[in-house]
Symmetry: C2
Subunit: 310 residues, 2 copies
C-alpha cells in the first residue's frame, strides 16, 4: 500500500502568458502582459511561455508578441519561449530575439483539422521546416501534443496514437513532448495508460504533462504523473486559459494550485507561491472574470475574512 516514491525536484513550465491569455476574449494591454511575465520571472519560474508568433488574424491577443519580447526584463536563469506555427512565425520570433520555441501538433485528426486546418501529417511536414531551421540556428524546440486524453470531436484517443505522434515529434528533433489534456477530461488511470504507451517510444525524461483542471482532476493527474516519474509539468498562473476551439475547455491547471501541492509534498521547484499569487493578482484587473485558481480564491477569501474580523 506504500505509494511509489516521488521525484525530489520538478520543473514548472509557466504557460499563463500564452496558453492562458490567448483564450481571453478581451485584449489584455501589452504593458500588463509585460508586467505579468516580469512578475513570473521574479517568482522563480524557470520556463515562461511568453507569447505566440501566430497570425494576428486568428489570435488577436498574441498580435503584440514582438513588443512583449522587446519589453520584458530577461533573467539569465529563465527560459523565455514562444509558440511558432510555421517558418514565417519562426522568422518573426527570431527577429524578436526568441531563443527557444514550441510547436503544437494534435493526437486527434479531427482536432488537428479544426484547430490548425491541417491533417496531423500535414502539420508535421510544416513543422519539419521549422525544426530544421531552428536546429541550424541553435534554437531548441518543444513539442505540444494536444488531445492526448480525449478529443472534443472524436472522444477517446487511442494511447498508441498518442505514442505514435509523440515519436514523430521526437523524430523532428523536439527536446520534449508535452502530453496535453486539452479539454481537461483525463483521470489518473488514463495518465498511466497514456504514459505507458508514450514511453515505449519517447524516454520518460523527455515527457512533460500539460493538464487542464476542467473537471477538477488536474492535481490527481499530477500525482499520478509524479508517481510515474514525470518531472516536468505545465501550468498557468491564476488558472488562466483553456482552448478556444475545444468546447467546455476552461482553465489550465493553476500554477498556484500545482505549487501548493508540490510544496506540501516537499518537492522542490525553486518557485515562490506567494510571488505567483502576487503576479496573478496584479494581472487580474486586466481580465474580465475571476481567475479560477482554487488556491487564489481561498487566499482571497481569507484576506476578506481577516478584514471582516479585524
Amino acid at each position: 500500500m506504500t505509494p511509489p516514491p516521488l521525484p525530489h525536484r520538478v520543473t514548472v513550465v509557466e504557460v499563463g502568458p500564452r496558453d492562458g491569455l490567448q483564450n481571453e476574449a478581451g485584449v489584455v494591454p501589452t504593458a500588463a502582459k509585460v508586467a505579468f511575465v516580469n512578475a513570473l520571472s521574479d517568482a522563480g519560474l524557470p520556463v515562461i511561455e511568453v507569447s505566440a508568433f501566430v497570425s494576428p488574424k486568428w489570435v488577436p491577443q498574441m498580435a503584440d508578441a514582438a513588443e512583449v519580447f522587446a519589453s520584458i526584463t530577461r533573467r539569465d536563469s529563465v527560459r523565455y519561449t514562444a509558440l511558432v506555427p510555421n517558418l514565417a512565425g519562426l522568422a518573426r520570433a527570431e527577429a524578436a530575439g526568441v531563443r527557444e520555441i514550441a510547436i503544437f501538433a494534435a493526437a486527434s485528426e479531427t482536432f488537428s483539422k479544426k484547430n490548425i486546418n491541417q491533417t496531423i501529417a500535414e502539420s508535421l511536414a510544416t513543422y519539419r521546416g521549422v525544426t530544421d531551421q531552428a536546429r541550424e540556428h541553435g534554437i531548441p524546440v518543444r513539442g505540444y501534443l494536444s488531445t492526448c486524453f480525449g478529443c472534443p470531436f472524436e472522444g477517446r484517443v487511442a494511447p498508441d496514437k498518442v505514442a505514435d505522434v509523440s515519436a514523430r515529434l521526437l523524430d523532428l528533433g523536439v527536446f520534449e513532448v508535452a502530453i496535453s489534456d486539452t479539454i481537461g477530461v483525463a483521470h489518473p488511470g488514463q495518465v498511466g495508460e497514456v504514459l505507458d504507451a508514450v514511453t515505449t517510444r519517447v524516454p520518460l525524461s523527455q515527457v512533460a504533462l500539460h493538464l487542464h483542471d476542467t473537471r477538477g482532476t488536474a492535481l490527481a493527474n499530477v500525482l499520478a504523473g509524479l508517481q510515474y516519474g514525470v518531472t516536468t509539468f505545465d501550468s498557468a498562473a491564476g488558472g488562466l486559459g483553456g482552448c478556444p476551439y475545444a468546447p467546455g475547455a476552461s482553465g489550465n491547471l493553476a500554477t498556484e494550485d500545482l505549487l501548493y501541492m508540490l510544496d506540501g509534498l516537499g518537492i522542490e521547484t525553486g518557485v515562490s507561491l506567494p510571488k505567483v499569487v502576487a503576479a496573478s493578482r496584479a494581472l487580474a484587473s486586466s481580465i474580465s472574470h475571476p481567475l479560477p485558481s482554487r488556491y487564489l480564491q481561498a487566499e482571497g477569501a481569507r484576506k476578506q475574512e481577516r478584514r471582516v474580523r479585524s
Copy 2:
C-alpha cells in the same frame, strides 16, 4: 513505478443537504431541500446526510430538520442520516424518525472551543451520553473528526492527536470515523501520514475521508486515499458548503467531481453522475452563487457552447 491497486467499489456519503447547505447564507426553502434529497436518492447515493438537529439559534438553515425528514421519500436502499450535537438533538432526531446519526468532534482544541464551545474532552463526555442512548435504541452513530489536516487557528495538527481522538470516538461506539479536512489544506503526502497514524488505532475499514476542495487538492487526496485502501468518501453535490467558523473554507469536494474520477478509474459506486448533476441544477436556483463543482461548470459551458453553435 506501478501505482498501488485501487478498491473495486467505493461508498460515497452525500453530505450536501447538511454540510453543504448549513454554510449557505440565504435560507433554502424546505421544499427545495426535500426535492434535493429525493433527487439524490434517485441518483443512487447510498448514504445521505439530510440535516442536523442542532440549535436553530446557531444554525438557522437547519431549523426545519424534522420537517425535511417528514417530507422526504425514503428508499430502503438509502441510509438517511442527521448530525446530532447532544441528547436533546438525539431526542428530536428520534422523534423525526431518524435511524442513523453522526456526532462531530475536532482534532484541534482551539477549533473545538470556537466551533462548539467545548474542549475536546468535554465534547466527548457529551457524546458519551448520545452514543450510549443511541446504542440502547439501536441507532448507529458515525463520528466526524474535523481539522485532521490543519486548523485555521493552530495550523498543523499532529497526526498522533488525530489518531488519539479517532480512537476515543471509536471507544464511544461510532462505527466509522470520517477523517475531515475542514479547511481544505491537505495534500496527498499528508493523507498517508495521517492514515498511518489513525490506522494504528482504528481499522482501515472504519475510516472514511471527508475532503474539501478549497485549494484544488481534494481529488489528489482521494487518489492517495484510494491507494491507501480507503473505501468511503464524503462529498457534497455541486461542491456546496464549507464551514462557517473556518476562515477560507469554501466547498466540500463535489460529488460530481468525485464520481467523474471514480467512474474514470472504473471504481463502482452505484451512483449516476448525470442524475447528481440534475439534482444540483434543480437546487441551484435556491442558492445565491454558482455551485463550485468543476464538473458541473464544465457541463454548463458545454451546454451553452452547444446552444451557441447550433
